[in-house]
């Protein structure tokens, strides 16, 4: 299966990013081939709608699972529409969270926060 995680850097040892919508990168991890790809998050520097754009990136990466510390309501609408499961990260690094998820230790992400409305113009 394919797992997506928002990250601060584009190496496997990276920390998970505190923000979903404005994470600098997404780690796309294939549990079967154990391959990692990093996608630049073009949404990070957008004036508005970052959550939506970031979620679209994750959907387009064909991920089936998203591991993230938090998620805004707009992004969540897109992720859930694509039937991607969301789990809450509990550890610092991407690798630790992937292991924890595969061991069934990461809870579902239930608390969706209100959007950081229009971190952008007007």
């Amino acid at each position: 299966m394919i797992i997506a995680i928002p990250t601060d850097n584009n190496v496997f040892e990276t920390d998970v990013s505190a923000s979903f919508g404005r994470a600098p990168y997404y780690l796309i991890y294939d549990t079967e081939t154990k391959e990692s790809t990093f996608v630049d998050n073009s949404a990070a520097m957008m004036a508005g709608g970052a959550g939506v754009k970031a979620a679209q990136l994750v959907v387009d990466s064909k991920a089936e699972v998203l591991l993230t510390p938090r998620c805004g309501e707009n992004a969540a609408d897109v992720i859930l529409a694509a039937n991607i499961r969301m789990h809450k990260t509990l550890h610092k690094t991407a690798g630790e969270n992937i292991e924890a998820f595969l061991a069934g230790e990461l809870p579902h992400l239930d608390e969706i926060h209100a959007g950081h409305h229009g971190q952008g113009e007007r």
């Binding site: 949404a43 508005g48 709608g49 679209q56 897109v78 694509a82 952008g120 007007r122």
Partner: protein
Amino acid sequence: MRVAVLSGKGGTGKTLVTVNLAAVAAPSVYVDCDVEEPNGHLFFKPGQVQEEPVTVLIPHVDPAACTGCRKCVEFCNFNALAYASGKLIVFDDICHSCGGCVLVCPEGALSEKDKAIGCVQRGTADRVEVYTGILNTGEATGIPIIHRLLEQSSLEEPLHSDSEQQPRRADGEATFIDCPPGSACIVMESIKDADYCILVAEPTIFGMHNLRMVHELVTLFEKPFGVVLNKCLEGENPSEVYCVERGIKILSRIPFDHELGALNSDAKIVANESDVYRDAFRTLLETVKEEVGHEAAAHS
């Protein structure tokens, strides 16, 4: 005449000045353009309030016609559209209602629907017509509310759906516009139709710094203006120095006064409660009328 009252900084006394000028100038019109935090109605407590929603156009997809080409998603600069599992998702509160997605859709699958983002209220208090604009929390922009406010407040019979056909108000009643703080685009919208701007400044370096910002703004828009110095204390007033150095007209100096502060903080209209302040605001009104008169003469 239409007078806009602004200040770069919040809390300097815009509402104090606008509300009281409107009160002494009655019959008059008061328009509250601070749509995020409208306060003027707390002073006037208007009666017979009519309300009208303000709407914007939001795209709506016909799922049968949509082929998932995603041209609309690519086009939208505001990221208000997403496509997942064969469905187009529209994010109302990010959409700026530009109509671009409808134009780019090759299948004609997008059309537009109205969505309310807030409202305009009109009421009366003594002989003042009070217009209040309210923006719902979380909406992208208050500019459509300000447009509606300024349009409605200049008509003879506002808040009717066929307001396009109504005659414009005879230029007898003065209109006072309470602007939002700062100098962002929403402030610019509020002063667009003003004949004259009053800048309110407080006697601190913060006040002066922000006075400079709105001074730049009104200069850019070529609006005639004058300054009201509020909360004046003993000692040097940096805002006053700023005005004197640049030959800016000081319309009035309102001293810091506990009685004024107490009345104002209880949402009382001081010009109605105190003879001293009724006179002070009447004098200010006359000064403003003179200044507006001079401008008209200079440009005729």
